[in-house]
Each structure stands twice: as C-alpha cells, then as structure tokens.
Symmetry: C2
Subunit: 190 residues, 2 copies
C-alpha cells in the first residue's frame, strides 16, 4: 500500500456507503467513489474489483479471524466453545467506524436483490470456514456444520443489535449473549 494513501481502504468504504445512500447504489460509479475518497480509480481497483465488493470488504479477513480463533481454542473445547472462541476473535476486530456505518450498510444491501444474494453468499462462506475449522479439530458433520451455522447466526444477530443507536453493549458481549440464546433454543428444539 503506498504511503501517501493512509486508510485508503476505509476511506473508499466510507465514500461508497455515503454515495450509495445519497444517490443510490445503481447511480454511483467507481470514479465517483474514488473522487469522494480523494483517491484515484487506480487506487480503488488496487483494493476492490468493483463497487459491489466494497460492501463486502471484510470477508477474507473475517474468515481468517474465525479460523485462527477456532484453531486457538483449547483442545478440550466443545464444538460450541470452539465457535465461541472463533466469534470472540472476529468480534474483537470490529471498530467504532464499522458500528457507525453499519445501519447504512445494511440498508444498501437490503434494498438490492443482487446485494442480498452476495450477502447470503458471504454468510455461507464464513459458515463454511467455521465448519472447516471444526473439521480440522476432529468434529464430524453434521455437528460441525450445525455448530458453524449457530455461530454465523449468533454473530449476525449480535451485529444487528450492536449497530442499533440505543445499544450500549460491546460486540463481544452481544455475541456471547446471542450464542447463549441460540444454544438454549436449540436444546429446547430437540
């Protein structure tokens, strides 16, 4: 990353979300996003393949954090304890900026079928990453994929609660809370 473009990635994400909100996702071009961020189109394309991917910027990093968090859990951890450790690693990476633009991010994604599809795919990819991390620890399927799904669901619920204006809990706390709720609901189901 060139030294005269500090926080280029974050600036591009913020510019994109601002423009999508102001003038709509379809009407916004990569050139406009780069200009709003005070950067060039070339810089944009060093960070993202297209304007859609700006909204899913964290996917690779999130997958890595989940995998590392799961791998670092104690050898004695149950599948759900391993999932909790993975979510802790992920939740700890979220910043106040991400909380601030979370509601607008969700709104843009929710208003476009193409973006909802992409979001479903991101969620599936993270679930698969988590399931693979559990397989690597010897957890068989379908237990691994179920535990991974509970983890993804818990994180999604926690994130939605975290970005509400009235919330005053941390994302890690909300993640623990929603995973506990899901664990209890699961136990009641069977």
């Amino acid at each position: 990353m060139a030294r005269w473009e500090p926080n280029a990635r974050l600036r591009l994400v913020q510019a994109a979300i601002d423009l999508f909100g102001e003038q709509g996702y379809d009407s916004t071009t990569v050139a406009q996003i780069a200009e709003r961020a005070g950067l060039t189109k070339t810089t944009f394309f060093r960070h993202f393949p297209d304007k859609r991917e700006v909204l899913f910027a964290g996917q690779e990093e999130h997958g890595r954090l989940l995998a590392e968090g799961a791998a670092a859990a104690p050898g004695t951890a149950t599948p759900l304890e391993t999932v909790a450790a993975a979510l802790d690693a992920l939740a700890a990476s979220f910043t106040p900026e991400q909380r601030a633009f979370g509601p607008r991010l969700m709104q843009v994604i929710g208003s476009h079928c193409e973006l909802r599809e992409r979001a479903a795919f991101k969620s599936l990819n993270l679930t698969t990453t988590l399931a693979t991390a559990l397989h690597d620890r010897g957890v068989p399927d379908p237990a691994a994929s179920l535990a991974a799904h509970l983890g993804a669901q818990a994180f999604s619920t926690a994130f939605a609660r975290w970005i509400t204006p009235a919330n005053d809990h941390t994302l890690p706390d909300l993640t623990h809370q929603s995973l506990n709720e899901l664990r209890e609901a699961t136990a009641a189901l069977t």
Copy 2:
C-alpha cells in the same frame, strides 16, 4: 400457457442444462436454449427473465409447497414435526426428470461463483419461508429460524443423496433420514 407448447418450462430447463454442460454456461445464449427446446425466445421470456433463472426454476413453487405443508401439519406438531411435514410436501413434488438432471445441475451451479451466490440466496429464501410458516403457527425466534435451517439443511443433504446413481431410496425417505440425523447431531451439540 399456450396449448401448442406442452411442457415448455421443463423442455427449456432440460435444453439449458444440456447446453451448459456441452458448451459452458457463459457461452450459452437464450436463443440457443430456446432453439434446442424447439421453442421461441419469446416463449423463453414468458417463463424466465434470463438464462440464470432457468437453473432456479422451482424456487417459487418450492416455497409454496413448504408453506402449505407446514400449515397443514396437526396443531399439536412440534416445530421439527412441522418442518418434517413441510419437507414431505416438497419432496413429494420432485420428479424422475429432476433426479436425472440433478447431477448436471449441481455441476453447473458449482462451477460459477455467480450461480453459487444465487443458490445460496435460494436456500436462504426457502429457509425464510419455512421460518415464516413456523412464526405463523406461534413458534418464536430463534427456535423458528433454527428449525427452518435444520429443514433446509436436511433437504439439501437428502437431495444430494437422492441424485447419486447408486441410490435406491425415495426422496421422502432420504429427507426423513437426514432430518433425523440432524436432530440427533443437534441434541448432541447442546
């Protein structure tokens, strides 16, 4: 549907899957699909908005079957029994043709990121339909969304087993079997 185009929908699906397999998804045009099916482009567009949607032809019908199956379950049914009833209604609708082109369908979808995204979204939509049907019966979240997820997962596993050449079980039987496996794995998890 015009009377001189019997089975137009199924013929278009089969022609599309044949062509995608022979010459690739990207190289296949709507005109070619219509021609192979012995139909016009106009007829194609009466059934599908584009070539991608041919691969996800059943989504609306599947959602309707799941919702009706869940609504028809006895009032005393537990959430998972309701899910089983919904899956029974869905599984009963699948035909030998769908089994025959299932492996090629899965192969085309698996080989394109755009199609995998669309498939993830279809699965999410069916899960949401099932969760809504459970809400309508008074099942709260997260129990409803969890039960719906187990149902979607069970059906996906059952379908994959059904289309393997060596399989000699019916889709409803395989669906019951995979839902039971998931129920046991879920109980063991908590």
